[in-house]
């Protein structure tokens, strides 16, 4: 019953969004049914559709979890975008500096030649650590000086983007390369594509090991939040800081911890993006993963399972949008942004549905 209630509102929001979106499509002059068939169908075709959908979902799972963990502590992390950039760069940097010799890359001076078994975990840890630090900074600022984390995370987004563009352009780009990207990471820092293990899934599809890490992250976040004393303290702080303080919990410590964990989770996007896909840092690679993560967390009700499902939904839209763009007369892939927007509006306006549902006696009334 409780589960049903949790799922009910996001589900209604999604259905309502699709109805409204369908009306818009119809007004523009295309068939809503055809469009949705295209949108959903293309995302579920085997192997490309499913492969790419899951690949697209991976960063959204990480950022969705990141936002959710911060939110459970009563914090709004708008800075997942900056955190994942810093993390991706850190992963790429370790991959460049400590990898096996690469004849194609003599530009970046290497400090050591580590085998994949050492290098890969190092790259992953670098990504998580960099994200955690970048997320932890606004945490410390809030805990220490009371400055609001929303402002600070937004500002740190700008700083991250500008700083990394600078490093890319002037330090780590191969001279003459017209694209804003660093030199490639060592091949020993490549994360294996899942196509190698799954029959029928070609290896060219970038769905990689990071997706499994994302599922693992969902499980670990769930265990952390609801099964450990640390998660209890974090949630208590989010639910009622005064009561948490009364219960002997250090609010300051929780704020820093939550922001660092949040940043670390956002940083795991770098694992998917750099180690599993581009094998270099590519300036401005993120398709607003950090911000869509807020929507994912909201739709997913800040629960790992919800985040996973919401990330999949948004990834379907992302993937399907390309086909809607190409194969309809009038509708462009902006329909996807619109649908996302409407979903969020409906989720945020949950009270709108509670009223009518009460009328039908679906919700238990509270005694006056």
């Amino acid at each position: 019953m409780k589960l049903l209630k949790e799922i009910l509102f996001p589900l209604i929001a999604v259905i309502a969004a699709f109805i409204v979106g369908g009306i818009v499509v119809w007004i523009i002059g295309d068939s809503p049914i055809q469009t949705y068939k295209l949108l959903i169908g293309s995302a579920f075709s085997w192997p490309d559709g499913i492969g790419y959908t899951l690949f697209n979902a991976t960063p959204l799972i990480f950022t969705g979890l990141a936002v959710a963990v911060a939110f459970r502590c009563g914090l709004l992390n708008i800075g997942a975008e900056g955190q994942l950039y810093v993390a991706a760069f850190a992963a790429a940097w370790v991959g460049m500096k400590f990898g096996a010799p690469d004849p194609g890359n003599t530009f970046v001076a290497q400090w050591a030649h580590l085998p994949a078994i050492v290098l890969l975990p190092m790259c992953c840890i670098a990504a998580v650590a960099a994200g955690a630090i970048w997320g932890g900074i606004p945490g410390v600022l809030k805990a220490r000086f009371g400055s609001h984390e929303v402002i600070n995370t937004i500002m740190l987004n700008f700083i991250a983007v500008a700083l990394l563009s600078y490093f890319t352009q002037y330090r780590y780009k191969i001279p003459g390369d017209p694209i804003m990207q660093t030199a490639p990471t060592s091949p020993s820092a490549n994360l294996v594509h899942l196509g190698r293990f799954i029959p029928g899934l070609p290896e060219r599809i970038p769905l990689n090991f990071a997706f499994l890490l994302a599922i693992l992250a969902c499980v670990l976040v769930y265990i952390f939040l609801w099964k450990t004393k640390w998660g209890y303290e974090l949630r208590a702080t989010g639910a009622n800081p005064s009561a948490a303080e009364y219960g002997g919990v250090s609010i300051r410590k929780q704020i820093i911890l939550a922001m660092a964990i949040s940043g670390g989770l956002a940083g795991m996007v770098g694992i998917n993006e750099v180690l599993g896909y581009r094998h270099r840092y590519y300036d401005g690679f993120s398709a607003n993963y950090g911000f869509v993560g807020i929507a994912v967390a909201l739709l997913g009700r800040n629960h790992p399972v919800g985040v996973f499902l919401a990330a999949i939904l948004f990834a379907i839209l992302l993937r399907g949008g390309i086909f809607v763009d190409a194969f309809t007369m009038h509708v462009s892939k902006d329909i996807v942004d619109m649908l996302q927007g409407i979903v969020i509006v409906f989720v945020a306006a949950e009270a709108m549905f509670r009223g009518p549902l009460k009328q039908f006696g679906l919700m238990k009334k509270i005694r006056a």
Partner: protein, 503 residues
């Protein structure tokens, strides 16, 4: 004046009012009493048009009238003052009072005329409210009088007051009652919803008692007493007096020396307080709210930053002035905070999660590894608290929000008593709690004392501190102004000390 006839109102599965009939005679003060959830507020909200009844009639001056909205009620001369004031803080008294019934034309607002009229009404009932004062500069008692004015300005003949004294100090209650009596003399009719029996007896002419959505008694105040009313409210015999044997104090547990506390704004809240509490005794602190009691208790519980505290607190011979809240709890200092919603509970968390607050990091809440929560251990503890402290409904998975005030309080007290404590800091233990639960909580506190615990009790209810305490300290303006014997002292003497006068 007003009569409810067979009013029935159902919220989902809950029958909030079951054929409720109440007849209020004109020119009287009529009290409606009952425990939380008895349906008294619902009945009055129906009379005021907030809800419409499923069935039944409302009669005004003998005629059946339809009251569908508060607007209808106002037109019929009914006014209501809610427990939580509905005032716009940055606006003036006059602006607040005319809100919704602005005088003047569509484009101009004649506030001057309104202010004059308000002053006239205020003088008539000696309310002493300045129409041009800003709401936020007024005390709670004055704000309440603004609410009264609001209804009187709209020519209300019948005033419904929902728990009007809950926010007032004892002095303010006296003033407030004087105002009500004046209003009665002027021919107004007043319905007062409350659960404080002493007030019912002090102010009302007639009493209607409700329980579980039904009217269970109608009596003239002059022909009843507290015990009878309590029995009607609860449905069984209730002990109104605390029965406790004399204290047999042991060694000193807590020693407070020259304790001063500075508030966030830099002002001194507690000023050089010195006292001791021994094992097996209850020391009460009487005082008008806001005289440093809150800060004193929080400082003893370790919830005020050490930099704001000076002086020395020692517990069982150990200096704990700079010890944090967690460590103090480990030493055996339990704390029942005055504001259970703000401090004491995680309202959206389950009862089980609430019973481990403060002990969530050690056994039995965590398993052997010291990290993972031990669900079985937590459940056992929760079931024990629920059983020993009669928390209803006894479902560990329910969110704390779903419980009534009394049951929430029993949950907190159960959690803290379970430590088990050597020193209990307890503040407003029965605020907003039903009489049945009050009796229970008082008995538990006395039992804890008899088991050897030292208790520091703060309460705004004078009767509560005098009845429970073995020794009574009076606080005024952050200073302890005297110690009295609660068995011998009169309320007048304490009242005088509380307000800064001396015995």
């Amino acid at each position: 004046m007003i009569e409810l006839r067979n009013i029935t109102k159902r919220f989902g599965a809950v029958l909030a009012n079951d054929r409720v009939s109440i007849k209020v005679a004109p020119g009287t003060i009529h009290a409606i009493v009952g425990e939380n959830g008895a349906g008294k507020s619902t009945a009055m909200r129906i009379a005021y048009g907030f809800y419409t009844a499923d069935s039944g009639d409302i009669l005004i001056n003998g005629e059946v009238r339809q009251i569908r909205t508060p607007h209808d009620a106002i037109a019929l001369g009914i006014g209501m003052v809610h427990q939580h004031f509905m005032l716009v803080e940055p606006m003036t008294v006059a602006e607040n009072i005319v809100l919704g019934a602005e005088p003047g034309t569509a484009v101009s607002l004649d506030l001057k005329k309104a202010a004059e009229e308000i002053r006239k009404v205020s003088d008539e009932f000696r309310l002493a409210v300045d129409p041009n004062a800003t709401i936020e500069t007024l005390s709670v008692g004055q704000q309440q009088r603004v609410e009264l004015l609001k209804a009187l300005y709209r020519h209300a003949q019948l005033l419904i007051l929902d728990e009007p004294t809950a926010v007032l100090t004892p002095q303010e209650v006296e003033e407030f009652f004087a105002i009500l009596r004046r209003m009665r003399e002027q021919g107004k009719t007043i319905v007062i919803i409350t659960h404080k029996l002493s007030e019912v007896l002090a102010i009302s002419d007639e009493v209607t008692v409700m329980r579980d959505g039904k009217v269970v008694g109608e009596v003239k105040t002059s022909e009843t007493n507290a015990a009878e009313l309590a029995r009607l409210m609860v449905g069984r015999e209730v002990l109104l007096r605390v029965e406790k044997p004399d204290a047999n104090p042991g060694a000193a547990v807590l020693k407070v020396k020259d304790l001063s506390i500075v508030g966030r704004d830099g002002s001194k809240r507690v000023d050089g307080v010195t006292f001791e509490i021994s094992a097996s005794e209850i020391v009460g602190i009487a005082g008008v709210e806001g005289n440093g009691q809150t800060e004193l208790i929080e400082a003893l519980a370790g919830l005020i930053p050490g930099s704001h505290v000076s002086g020395a607190i020692s517990f069982e011979g150990r200096d704990i002035t700079q010890t944090n809240a967690r460590r103090r709890k480990e030493l055996g200092i339990a704390h029942v905070p005055e504001d259970r919603h703000r401090r004491g509970l995680l309202l959206d968390f389950s009862l089980a999660e609430n019973t481990i607050l403060g002990v969530h990091y050690r056994k039995p809440a965590v398993s052997r590894d010291g990290i993972l929560l031990d669900q079985k251990g937590i459940q056992r503890r929760t079931e024990q608290v629920i059983r020993d402290f009669d928390v209803r409904p006894p479902n560990p998975l329910l969110p704390a929000r779903a419980l009534s005030g009394g049951n929430q309080q029993k949950l907190i007290i159960g959690r803290e008593f379970e430590l088990p404590p050597k020193l209990l800091l307890v503040s407003q233990p029965t605020r907003g709690v039903d009489i049945g639960a009050i009796e229970f909580i008082h008995r538990k506190i006395v039992a804890l004392r008899d088991a050897g615990c030292a208790v520091l009790l703060v309460s705004a209810e004078l009767e509560e501190v005098t009845a429970l305490s073995d020794r009574l300290l009076v606080i005024h303006n952050g200073q302890i102004v005297g110690e009295v014997d609660p068995k011998k002292v009169s309320n007048e003497d304490i009242g005088l000390m509380m307000t800064g006068g001396h015995k």
